[in-house]
């Protein structure tokens, strides 16, 4: 592992604009400012030497235990050394009344027993470590600046800050019930606002209280409630509050294989996740967030409608050109990419997700206005004209486009939902006959070209024999009856061919990219849900118990997991995994006696 922390050892804090990764050793190794998709100021997770970090730890050998304060996104790390015990509470504060910093991380240090010598170091590296940083003081506060970005460190009873060549350092003894506080504040294109200690601590306390109140709004009372609430708290951190968009993950380029090249930027909002997101938020009682997200993606997609982009930037922009950064990558996993070249791909499944999201939205009591109805009808018309084309599929494979079965099935879902919405009066009814005819044509295509008698399963793409875990979504999206022999056969075949203990790999066969990858956690949760839908409740419960047990110590998941060592792989925390967990828990819970 060397100078890198295991991905499993990270927790996250955030404020609805950006997210920080906090390691078990107390180091903030990832933070983009001012927003989640801005460049990083702390990027040690991607380059331990040049990335920058905010370290805070005992100067002695120690053990660390962590938890979130119950029902919050405020992290508590307790360090135990041979001479004492100290607790660090990390919060990214929310704006309260009065003038406060634009962005603020508050780290409170409480000495619980004995005496613990502590040290901290802030190494700001703006622009993913490439920008020139100037360190200076404003009054008694060290300030780092780079262009229009600025960051300051305010320490109270936590040692006197020393400006070194490229860092701000401090040391102090935490002893006998005393407490200290360090606030790191930041601003872009505006003056820094320096808080007093009382203001910073008050905001941190109010932030914890906000999260407690927000969590209490969850109406879910089913099984695995703790995991479900932690998942929705993690999702809330991925919501970019200024626009309502939801990022797929908080990071870029955390590798799908250590040393591998499958390193992607997930700090964008995928249309694919839309129906899962809306369903999860609405099922758990978060109406305001669901509504904001629906408004966001109906507004964001207007630039390209009826064609959908695979994802949109958090600010709603359509462009995200991919480039590589001169960073070493997590444990040498290069390239480190920002932007995402998948934006220009044709992924037909997204159309089904969008229309299913609209269907979920109105099913749960919301309304569609006439203009939105017309837009959605134009999307359904687009599906009629394009479902026969090959596409890159849900997994965004970079091989030549193929006739992916899951994409075709989601085109069927798109038309099915459009017909239902038209019947209910939300979409114009005139084109419904065409939608119906094309939906039947899609079903015939899938039945004839996408089924393997040899495998007794639907296959990854037409004419092939490879299997694909995303076909589980055919059951979840109600492509057919739950007791359909073909869906049951597909679930069985996928579990046998792609399973590794409780985990599932994505697919068999080649995807056009070198290197391997771990098991995909969202697929594993989809399997649990598909089993529940198929009436195999006990198997679903057993699998769910195992999967919930694979979360890290604070209940979070990365995109993938190594099946043997259970090491996390890929971007972190990943929204789709937490969405799949919520969906599976709800589906199983609904079928419990």
């Amino acid at each position: 592992m060397g100078r890198y922390v295991a991905l499993r050892d990270y927790a996250v804090i955030g404020d609805g604009r950006t997210v920080a990764l906090v390691a078990r050793d107390g180091s903030i190794d990832w933070l983009c400012l001012p927003d989640l998709d801005s460049s990083s100021v702390f990027g040690a997770v991607l380059d331990a030497d040049r990335g920058g970090r905010f370290a805070l730890r005992p100067r002695q050998p120690h053990e660390a235990r962590r938890r979130y304060l119950p029902d919050t996104n405020v992290l508590e790390t307790t360090f135990t050394t041979s001479t004492g015990v100290v607790r660090v509470t990390d919060a990214m504060t929310l704006p309260g009344g009065g003038l406060g910093p634009s962005r603020e991380v508050v780290r409170r240090i409480d000495a619980l027993a004995g005496r613990v010598p502590m040290c901290w170091r802030v190494e700001p590296r703006f622009g993913y470590g490439s920008a020139t940083v100037r360190l200076d003081t404003r009054g008694s506060y060290p300030v780092a600046t780079s262009g229009s970005d600025a960051l300051a460190v305010c320490a109270w009873d936590a040692g006197s800050p020393r400006i070194e060549a490229s860092s701000v350092d401090g040391e102090f003894d935490a002893r006998d019930g005393a407490s200290g506080t360090i606030a790191m504040i930041a601003a872009r294109a505006e003056p820094l606002v320096f808080p007093t200690r009382a203001q910073a601590e008050r905001r941190a306390a109010e932030t914890a209280e906000f999260w407690r109140r927000w969590s209490a709004r969850a109406t879910y009372t089913g099984p695995w409630r703790e995991a479900v609430v932690r998942s929705v708290l993690a999702l809330k951190l991925l919501v970019f509050a200024p626009s309502g968009a939801i990022a797929a993950a908080a990071t870029t380029s955390l590798p799908e294989q250590i040393g591998g090249s499958r390193n992607w930027d997930y700090r964008y909002s995928w249309i694919r996740d839309s129906s899962f997101t809306l369903d999860a938020l609405l099922q758990l009682g978060y109406q305001a967030e669901a509504k904001a997200f629906f408004w966001w993606f109906m507004h964001a997609t207007r630039l390209t409608l009826p064609r959908l982009q695979v994802f949109y930037r958090l600010d709603g922009g359509p462009r995200a050109p991919e480039r590589t950064l001169p960073l070493d990558g997590y444990r040498g996993s290069r390239p480190v990419r920002i932007g995402n070249g998948a934006a220009a791909q044709l992924q037909l499944d997204a159309y089904g997700e969008l229309l299913d999201a609209a269907f979920v939205y109105v099913t749960r009591g919301h309304r569609l206005d006439r203009e939105t109805g017309r837009d959605l009808a134009s999307v359904a018309d687009f599906v009629c004209g394009h479902w026969r084309e090959p596409d890159s599929g849900i997994w965004e494979v970079r091989a030549s486009p193929r006739h992916h079965t899951q994409s075709k099935a989601m085109c069927w879902v798109a038309l099915d939902r459009a017909i239902r919405l038209a019947r209910a009066g939300w979409l114009p009814a005139t084109p419904a006959a065409r939608w119906h005819a094309e939906a039947e044509a899609i079903r015939r295509f899938i039945d004839v070209h996408c089924w393997s008698e040899t495998k007794r399963s639907y296959v990854w793409y037409a004419g092939g024999e490879e299997l694909d875990a995303s076909l589980l979504l055919m059951a979840i999206m109600r492509y057919d009856r739950p007791d359909s022999p073909r869906l049951r056969g597909t679930v069985q075949a996928i579990r046998q061919a792609l399973g590794s203990g409780p985990l599932l790999h994505r697919y068999t066969g080649d995807d056009g990219i070198t290197g391997g990858e771990g098991a995909f956690l969202c697929c594993s949760f989809w399997l649990a849900e598909a089993l529940a839908i198929a009436g195999r409740r006990e198997q679903a419960v057993e699998l769910m118990d195992q999967l919930v047990g694979l979360a890290n110590d604070v209940g979070l998941y990365a995109e993938e997991i190594e099946p043997t060592t259970h090491e996390f792989l890929g971007n972190f925390p990943q929204g789709l995994v937490h969405l799949a967990l919520i969906s599976a828990a709800v589906a199983i819970g609904e079928r419990m006696p």
Binding site: G14, D15, G16, R17, P34, D35, N73, L94, P95, S102, F210, W214, K236, L237, V239, A241, P242, S243, G244, A245, A288, E289, K291, A292, W295, W296, H299, A300, R302, L303, T304, L305, D315, G316, G317, P318, R319, D369, R370, E371, T372
Partner: protein
């Protein structure tokens, strides 16, 4: 040069500006929809928001025309070229400050850079030069305001005092 000419020019200029933005929206060049942005300050209902937004938008067009007229009067001359120059300044002010900063600050349903987890705004903020609504939006904004300025300038100059 007359105030009535400026007011009529303001109405006609707003009409042309509105048509240009609507055409840009239909051509998928921009997601900018000023009546919608203004109207949603009062209601979440899209149709009603547009009605209220159009009314406010045309009122704003007349108010800006009066401001143009004041500037023409100070300079002692008016014309479509000078109007276009005012339109350019108007567009830059709108893109950098008026719609980018001031509108999100007062709009109850629009996010700002300070919106945090404790809020769930329904509208994404326009961003610098309204770029969040599509990369072609700044160009369209400038062109539409050049047209508005030229029309206000021309009508102001063409009507006798």
């Amino acid at each position: 040069m007359s105030a009535w000419g400026a007011l009529f020019g303001g109405f006609a200029g707003t009409l042309v500006l509105t048509i240009m933005f609507a055409a840009g929206s239909q051509l998928r060049l921009t997601r900018m929809d000023l009546p919608f942005l203004l109207g949603t300050a009062w209601t979440e209902d899209r149709a009603r928001a547009r009605v209220a937004g159009y009314a406010f938008h045309f009122l704003a067009g007349l108010v800006f025309a009066v401001m143009y007229y004041a500037a023409f009067a100070v300079l002692g001359r008016a014309g479509w070229v000078l109007g276009m120059l005012f339109g350019l300044v108007h567009a830059l002010f709108a893109g950098t400050t008026l719609v980018n900063v001031l509108l999100p600050a007062v709009h109850p349903r629009m996010g700002t850079s300070m919106s945090a987890a404790s809020s769930s705004p329904l509208l994404e903020p326009p961003g610098f030069m309204l770029m969040n609504y599509g990369p072609a939006t700044p160009i369209l904004t400038v062109l539409a305001h050049l047209a508005y300025g030229a029309i206000v300038g021309a009508f102001t100059a063409a009507t006798p005092r």
